[in-house]
Amino acid sequence: MIVGKQKPFDEIWDMVKGFKKVLVYGCNTCVAICHAGGSKEAELLASMLRMRAKQEGLDLLIDSAGIERHCEPEFFEPLDEKVKTYDLILSTACGVGVNFLADRLAGAIPVYPGINTSFYGAVPEAGFFVELCGGCGNCILHLTGGICPIVRCSKSLMNGPCGGTDKGKCEVSSETDCAWFLIVERMKKLGTLEKLFEVQPPRDWSTATHGGPRRISLEHIRAYEAEEEKKATLTGEGK
């Protein structure tokens, strides 16, 4: 899931204090799991902002709302009209959600981020989140024992540990495991260590953000949806 962390309160306050009517807009999927930007966090943030406005003697109307996802259009629809009545949307969704809503509102209302989107991560224990995938678009986990060297190695090394590996820990932080130590140990257990001796071609980073914004288009799904839309229009059931 996408992991994020609420921005420092003063930074948020600086963003919103110049507006009159603000909606703190939460997303109840990934960022709700990491206690950063769900409906609950949006409600708390709105309450804190209202108190700050009162302390500063500013006349600010601050409401909160939440929807299940900020990354698919149909989830926005029930609140579309309400959203248009504000002069700032403070989104506590991830960066995807902020971009998507800003595109949807097309410059009519600004959409500001309430959280810092941090990484794709897992939740090994409640309240603890770790980065496990870099979303590079060219997965090699079958070659590295299921451990990603791109994000779990501090230097994203692709060809084994650096000289800074120290008894299984990373020289960047003693709290960080050396990803290549983990990879070798895992592959020993899997009995696939010899795979590491295979020479790999230079990595193609064009599938990562180095190749510009990425898109995936499932043509059969899009064609099916277009066909359904056409049928609905013909039978008068379209919107």
Binding site: K40, E43, L44, S47, M48, R50, M51, K54
Partner: protein, 88 residues
């Protein structure tokens, strides 16, 4: 550099507000969130025993203090309560 640091420190110190004068007769408005099974029962017993407590304390009975959420506390402060007492 030391002068700059000292000046910055003085600015910081000067922004610290003087404490507000508190009127002698002021009593804080306190909202108590009490668990039905213990603290609220205790408050009830206090009533039966004719014990009194400040009328500026208002009690909200909860089925359990586990029901208490951050937003309840923030809402109380937003509405002007001076202190929140969670008892359970």
């Amino acid at each position: 550099m030391a002068d700059v640091a000292e000046a910055a420190e003085q600015i910081l110190v000067s922004t610290v507000e003087a404490p507000h004068d508190t009127p002698a007769d002021w009593t804080p408005n306190v909202l108590a969130f009490a668990c039905h099974y213990c603290a609220f029962a205790a408050a009830d017993l206090a009533g039966v025993m004719r014990l009194s407590y400040s009328p500026s304390v208002k009690i909200i009975r909860l089925p359990c203090t586990g029901k208490l959420d951050h937003i309840h506390i923030l809402s109380a402060f937003e509405k002007g309560v001076d202190g929140v007492f969670a008892a359970g």
